[in-house]
């Protein structure tokens, strides 16, 4: 088990390095001089040149990358072009907000997707299955910015039950998390259903039935537990989907997280902020997938020895 975790960790490190190279190059190839952007339109040629030297922009690209890595290792991601505050601090303030709605959305997706997926697999072809199939198709076809706006319209504007946007109370969390979860509910449900249908045809389920075990014991202990194994992998990938969706959901609901930070930074051409945010999002995604893979190995011993 430890060998598996170590091996998996070792794969993640080169991935993080490649990610840092990609992010670095993307931002270096961007048209426009960061020093000029940072100083604004009134800056003189001399002050721009001085700042370029200070920022190390006059050195070769490889040297700049090494400098970037050294600073990164010290937690220094540079300063925002807009607020002139350290990027690291701003990211640390925004990250928990995004992580919070992503986790709540994931919990909602699992709480609805798993049981409904299992039920529709057991009652295959029934009206529940038919209705759910349509709902799933609608769920994956609905733009999350639109479902977010509709939720605001009905629950905040029309009924006045929940706040339209912002943060502060748990009530503020409900609409963004629900809107963010729609796509993931559909994906989790679909996969649980197909995985469950497959498992229900396995010999060990038939054996359990023929032993005279009660139906719910067969379904939950023997079938569902095995059906969950492939669902676990999708949770990691869906987390990436949630981080992506957060960019839109956070904008719709004025939620002060990473997604909105990236979008605002793109408009302001705030490159240090974009670079830092992207790195943090990619790192979060890689680490979540690492944890999911380890969890997968715990659940299914076959993976560890493969």
């Amino acid at each position: 088990m430890i060998a598996f975790v170590v091996r998996r960790l070792l794969i993640s490190i080169p991935l993080l390095v490649v990610v840092s190279v990609v992010v670095f190059l993307l931002m270096s190839l961007t048209p426009g001089d960061p020093a000029a952007l940072m100083l604004g339109p009134d800056a003189t040629q001399e002050s721009i040149a001085a700042l370029r030297t200070q920022m190390g922009l006059d050195r070769p690209l490889a040297e700049q990358y090494v400098l970037f890595l050294v600073n990164l290792a010290q937690g220094d991601l540079g300063r925002s072009f807009v607020t002139h505050l350290p990027v690291g601090g701003e990211l640390l303030r925004a990250w928990p907000a995004t992580f919070q709605i992503a986790v709540v959305a994931m919990i909602i997706a699992l709480a609805i997707g798993l049981p409904l997926g299992a039920i529709t697999a057991i009652r295959r072809g029934s009206w529940v299955d038919q209705v759910t199939r349509i709902a799933v198709l609608v769920g994956i076809s609905m733009p999350i910015f639109w479902s977010g706006l509709l939720l605001i319209y009905f629950f905040a504007v029309q009924l006045g039950w929940l706040p339209t946007s912002g943060t502060g109370t748990p009530a503020h969390l409900i609409l963004p998390a629900v809107s963010l979860s729609t796509f993931s509910i559909a994906v989790v449900l679909r996969l649980t259903r197909s995985s469950m249908i497959e498992v229900l045809q396995e010999d060990y389920v038939r054996t359990a039935r023929s032993k005279g075990l009660r139906e719910w014991v067969v379904v939950v202990r023997h079938a569902l537990m095995n059906a969950l194994i492939p669902v676990v992998t999708i949770v990691g990938l869906q987390f990436g989907q949630l981080l992506s969706g957060a960019a839109i959901t956070e904008t719709v609901f004025n939620w002060p997280g990473m997604g909105r930070l990236v979008v605002t930074a793109v408009f302001a051409r705030d490159y240090p902020m974009i670079r830092g945010a992207i790195l943090l999002i990619a790192a979060t995604f890689i680490i979540v997938n690492l944890i999911v893979d380890v969890l997968y190995a715990v659940l299914d011993p076959r993976i560890r020895y493969a």
Binding site: V138, F145, V157, S194, L243, I248, A282
Partner: protein, 277 residues
């Protein structure tokens, strides 16, 4: 082919999807002829007016007819979607074929590069690419297209690997056919069905993503008629003029739903390996 059509047309959902796609394509092509108004003409006295017999979907914040903007927007949405998947296909498919057929170092480099791209959540990657390219509908489509390359590459590589070890390919290798000929004549026809299915489903998700970028202001720019952009301005007036939000949202959902239905139908009738349970 007849066998394929028999199976496809037995799927009611797929037929509904195909019908919706056909209607939307026709609307997109005929928009200049059938749209009741100029999509940019403003009737200021009718700003944010609700639905009426003259304007069945109401007016937007500048007094433009929403139905006409919707019709013109169909073309933008479809071309952006097509541009997106073309990028995925043109770059992703050859990479997948080469990686899967030749293997070795070439495969290792290609697949690690794809892994690195997949380390970014796709939509976030697209946002960054737009940031580098400048926001526009075309660049939004290019950005989403680039972020889809890894999915195409992985799919094609997996199918190529499977075909590579089939007897007919091994046979072609043993009689000394050239690799390029084998790939074109024997491997490609076999990886085509999953590509077709995946392209249809990608078209659905691309349309969603491009509209999402426009909604954020990173895609189509005003005064273009584009559904995501229409939702962006609708958001400001959700209290006074909910039709500005509801109408383009339904349109996006319908077209995405239609491509998903067609994709599901194609999967069931075209590709035995991907068949859903």
């Amino acid at each position: 082919m007849r066998e394929f059509w028999r199976r496809f047309s037995a799927d009611r959902g797929a037929l509904v999807g195909l019908a919706i796609v056909t209607v939307i394509v026709l609307v997109a092509l005929l928009a200049p002829l059938i749209a009741p108004y100029d999509p940019t003409a403003q009737a200021l006295e009718l700003r944010r007016a609700g639905p009426s017999s003259a304007h069945p979907f109401g007016m937007d914040e500048l007094g433009r007819d929403i139905l006409s903007r919707l019709m013109y927007g169909a073309g933008n949405t479809l071309t952006a979607g097509l541009l997106t998947v073309s990028i995925g296909i043109v770059i992703g498919v050859p990479l997948g074929l080469i990686a899967g057929y030749y293997g070795g170092l070439l495969e290792a480099i290609t697949m690690r590069a794809m892994d690195a791209m997949l380390a970014f959540p796709a939509f976030i990657l697209a946002i960054v690419i737009v940031a580098v390219l400048e926001p526009s509908l075309q660049n939004a489509a290019i950005a989403i297209g680039i972020s889809q390359i890894p999915s195409f590459t992985r799919l094609v590589r997996a199918s190529t690997l499977a075909a590579r070890h089939q007897d007919y390919v091994l046979g072609a290798v043993s009689v000394g056919s050239r690799s390029r000929r084998i790939i074109a004549r024997h491997v490609l026809p076999n990886v085509l069905p999953p590509i077709v299915v995946f392209t249809t489903i990608s078209l659905a998700s691309s349309i969603l993503s491009v509209a999402g970028l426009s909604f954020l202001g990173l895609g189509a720019q005003p005064p273009a008629s584009e559904w995501g952009l229409m939702l962006r301005s609708g958001r400001e007036y959700i209290r006074e003029a909910p039709q500005m939000t509801i109408v383009p949202g339904v349109a996006i959902m319908l077209v995405v739903l239609a491509f998903n239905l067609v994709g599901d139908g194609l999967r069931d009738s075209l590709d035995a390996r991907l068949r859903r349970s």
